[in-house]
C-alpha cells in the first residue's frame, strides 16, 4: 500500500514528507516505548506511536523505519519535525487512537511486522 493511501485511510495530516507519499509499505509496528520498537520493529515498516519527542525520529532512523504515524492527534515539537526532515522520514499525524489506527490499517491489508513474540526472544 502506498503511503498516500495510509494517509487517506487515517485521514492523516502530513507534517513531513509530502514528496514521499509514493512510498510502498506492507507492515507496521505500534508502541510508545522506544526500547520495544528497537526490540521488535523491522526495517521498512510503519511506526505507529503516541510519543512525539526527537527520540522517535532517532529510533526510526536507526531501524530504517519507512514512515511514522503519530496517533491520538499528537503534534510534534519543532525539533522533532526538523529531525524528521533531516533524516527524510515521513511524519504523519492522525486523530485516531492507536487501536483504531492499527485496526483501520489492518483491515486494508497492512500486517504486523511480526505476529507475536516467540520464546520471549527479540531475535526470532
Amino acid at each position: 500500500m502506498k503511503l498516500s493511501e495510509v494517509k487517506k485511510i487515517l485521514n492523516a495530516d502530513v507534517i513531513v514528507g509530502e514528496e514521499h507519499l509514493d512510498l510502498e509499505v506492507k507492515t507496521a509496528f505500534g508502541a510508545d516505548l522506544m526500547s520495544d520498537v528497537l526490540a521488535f520493529a523491522k526495517a521498512g515498516s510503519l511506526l505507529l506511536t503516541g510519543l512525539t519527542n526527537s527520540q522517535v525520529i532517532r529510533t526510526a532512523n536507526i531501524l530504517d523505519i519507512a514512515a511514522i504515524i503519530l496517533v491520538r492527534g499528537k503534534k510534534p515539537s519543532t525539533e522533532t519535525i526538523n529531525l524528521a526532515k533531516e533524516f527524510k522520514i515521513p511524519l504523519l499525524t492522525t486523530k485516531y487512537i492507536l487501536f483504531e489506527t492499527a485496526g483501520r490499517l489492518y483491515a486494508k491489508g497492512i500486517v504486523g511486522c511480526l505476529e507475536k513474540v516467540e520464546n520471549n526472544s527479540v531475535l526470532d
Binding site: 522506544m34 520495544d36 528497537l38 526527537s54 527520540q55 527479540v122
Partner: protein
C-alpha cells in the same frame, strides 16, 4: 574493570565517540554516525542494524545515567566490536540490572520512551558476545561483539 580489546592491528576501522551525560537532545547522534559509517563500509544490512541498535541503547544508557562516556568502535574483518565506557554511578547489582523490566530510570528518561528495563536486554540480545562489568561510584563497561559472518 578494563578489558583489553583484541589487537587492532588488522582492524579495518577504528574510532572513538564521546557522549555527554544528561543531554537528551544529543542522545542518538553518535549511534546515527556509527550506523552510517558501517553502512558506508558495505557491511551486511543485518550487521549494521544490530550494531546501530546496540550503540543506540548504549548511548541512551550513558546519557541517562552517566556523567560522560565514550563508544569505541572497531571493525575487524570478521567482527564489529562496540565498547562503551562511562564515568558515573556504575551498576551495584548487574544480575538485577540485566533482568528484563528492572529499571532505576527517572521520569525524564521514561518521557523519552526508554527506562522500562529493556535496554541492557536489547543490547545483549542483539550482540553475539556481550560482556558487562562495573565499579560502583566509577562507571560501567560494556563490550559487545557482533559477528559479520554468521
Amino acid at each position: 574493570m578494563k578489558i583489553t580489546v583484541c589487537s587492532t592491528e588488522n582492524s579495518l576501522y577504528q574510532d572513538s565517540f564521546d557522549i555527554e551525560g544528561g543531554n537528551f537532545n544529543k542522545a542518538g547522534i553518535v549511534s546515527t554516525r556509527i550506523k552510517s559509517i558501517l553502512k558506508q563500509m558495505g557491511l551486511p544490512a543485518d550487521v549494521v542494524r544490530k550494531c546501530a541498535i546496540v550503540s543506540y541503547e548504549s548511548e541512551i544508557n550513558v546519557v541517562s545515567y552517566a556523567k560522560k562516556g565514550v563508544i569505541n568502535l572497531t571493525v575487524n574483518p570478521e567482527t564489529v566490536l562496540i565498547e562503551v565506557v562511562d564515568e558515573g554511578p556504575g551498576i551495584p547489582n548487574i544480575d538485577l540490572a540485566m533482568q528484563q523490566g528492572y529499571s532505576t530510570a527517572d521520569q525524564k528518561i521514561r518521557e523519552m520512551g526508554f527506562g522500562a528495563g529493556m535496554g541492557l536486554c536489547n543490547i545483549k540480545n542483539y550482540s553475539d558476545i556481550f560482556h558487562i562489568s562495573s565499579e560502583v561510584g566509577k562507571g560501567a563497561h560494556l563490550l559487545m561483539t557482533i559477528n559479520i559472518k554468521q
